[in-house]
Point group: C2
Chain length 329, copies 2
């Protein structure tokens, strides 16, 4: 035993679970953690469900992310998918696979981050179940559940010509933060080193926070649904790529006005991981507070997306199988 901070390989699964459960806060489920399955309320007879995974290497580096960051981000990216349906998140299930030599304190940090993200981004949502496994690769797969409170889910397929395209939340910050890490916090061999925050400007710190602990305005998901959003999704893989998906699902073309994206439109157009909410509305005069217009929906044309009337150069977004190097450090 390593004193007060043993590794997960030194404790039984039950002992690790007890240390995690102590940190997750109160369950609001009908049946919370500890049985074969949780039982979650779904009062209007429907449950929204999504899963997303963070993998060491392609999705994060341990020199750059604390355990708390990882728990936060794993929660946030899934909560965003629930909010993007117009739903209110109610529960997370967390499958954590980790090497034998992982300190239990690291697992506790992940639990703290999961709880903090729920409290900040989706009050009332908590971790209600999970699974611990040993693995050579640290992997966090989170399932998020949510409820629609009687509203219709807002799909990607509902955008119609004449709708306004609007966004709530930052665009481009997370990818600028990632670029910062790759540009400034690697050693001569290219391996990640701990980021010295004192070397960063205030704006750079905001970008780094957006990458490591994204804080999209997820409470606006149900508000957008109530305001009549015709289509919605979260921007996880880059604005142009995600808008092209929404356009394809809706069988329309979408024009983006890059001046509406702020000073650094290039990052806003291509950068992923902000998890801002992208939505279309039939009436531009009644956008919910927090959304601002960035374009418009047109009849299906030759191109799914046009930026200022032109096709967008570059990859148009991020694809984890193409753009990442899992062996880069």
């Amino acid at each position: 035993m390593s004193g007060s901070d043993p590794t997960v390989g030194e404790l039984s699964e039950g002992a690790i679970l007890r240390r995690i459960l102590d940190r997750l806060g109160a369950s609001s489920a009908l049946v919370g953690p500890g049985d074969d399955a949780a039982v979650i309320a779904a009062p209007d007879g429907r449950v929204v469900a999504t899963v997303d995974t963070l993998v060491h290497g392609p999705d994060f580096r341990l020199a750059w992310s604390t355990a708390f960051d990882l728990g936060w981000k794993a929660a946030a990216v899934n909560l965003a998918d629930v909010a993007a349906m117009g739903a209110r998140p109610t529960a997370l299930l967390v499958a954590l696979a980790m090497p034998d030599d992982t300190p239990v304190s690291f697992v506790e940090g992940i639990a703290d981050g999961l709880r903090a993200a729920c409290e900040a981004l989706a009050p009332g949502c908590a971790v209600e179940g999970g699974d611990l496994t040993v693995s050579d690769t640290l992997t966090i797969a989170v399932t998020a559940l949510g409820v629609l409170d009687g509203a219709a889910p807002v799909l990607r397929s509902g955008a119609r010509p004449g709708d306004v395209l609007a966004v709530a939340g930052p665009l481009g910050h997370a990818s600028r933060g990632l670029a910062l890490l790759f540009d400034r916090f690697r050693d001569a061999a290219g391996h990640p080193v701990v980021a010295d925050l004192t070397t960063l400007s205030p704006a750079e710190r905001i970008d780094l926070e957006a990458q490591l602990r994204p804080r999209p305005p997820l409470e606006l998901g149900p508000i957008a649904a109530a305001a009549g959003a015709t289509a919605m999704m979260d921007v996880s893989d880059g604005l142009v790529l995600d808008v092209s998906r929404l356009a394809a699902a809706s069988d329309v073309s979408i024009w983006i006005d890059s001046p509406a994206l702020g000073e650094d439109a290039a990052f806003a157009l291509s950068g992923g991981e902000d998890h801002a909410l992208l939505a279309t509305f039939a009436r531009p005069d009644v956008l919910p507070v927090g959304f601002h217009p960035i374009g418009r929906v047109e009849p299906a044309g030759e191109h799914a997306v046009l930026v200022d009337g032109h096709t967008h150069a570059g990859t148009g977004g991020w694809d984890p199988y193409r753009d990442w190097d899992a062996h880069g450090g």
Copy 2:
């Protein structure tokens, strides 16, 4: 490109998803795969939810399991947890993390196994969402959802002195199958080699099937609930260990009668992964067809579990952090 069977690293995530979705069969969800999240019906206002993960190394070896086997087992172990609440499975969400050089045909095999297990073990349940990630370690995290159709969930904590302990489904086969693999299908260096089924007796083939493609009678979960099961769980980590968990949750002691476990009681007592349903009933005369008595519930005593009146020697079950060697081949 590798002709008709490229690797996942050679295709976009969207292209891989299309090939998988084609194999998953019809969605029965309100919103199926393809949006930010699925929407699943939960007519009585509650959803049962659980997650479990299979990791290459600790949980399976690619020489021993086909892709189909992995998909099947990943579904089965989660469906069992839903059934053990007395619920009927309705949907799976699958988070698949895999190396770049994984052939797409392998992913298709996993999809086929997931579908086949749902059709065989939980008709009406299908894969309704998922996530693909690149990882150095092949990992399959499955979330299963289910509905209770108006019944109360059957917890681990409801066993009362005087109840009969009963089981539905095989015990010990899966661990005998695992022992077969380790004993007979490794090379001189200890690394797994493909199992030559022609060398196995009919009984051994049954054991191997139980390990690779478990087929517990999950339809008996809701039937047990309707018949008044006071407590229930699935036997995933070994009978003695899981009975001790049920006893602790219920604050009782439980006696197991080993003659009721058949000829090979040692494997039945300690072996994991059968996913049989373990339940307690207040009336031994009305056990549902498929359940047979294997013991009884006593007031809480010095020991949580006694086998034929004695404490059980050995580890009492399987703990993935203790019993596995992730580096053994």
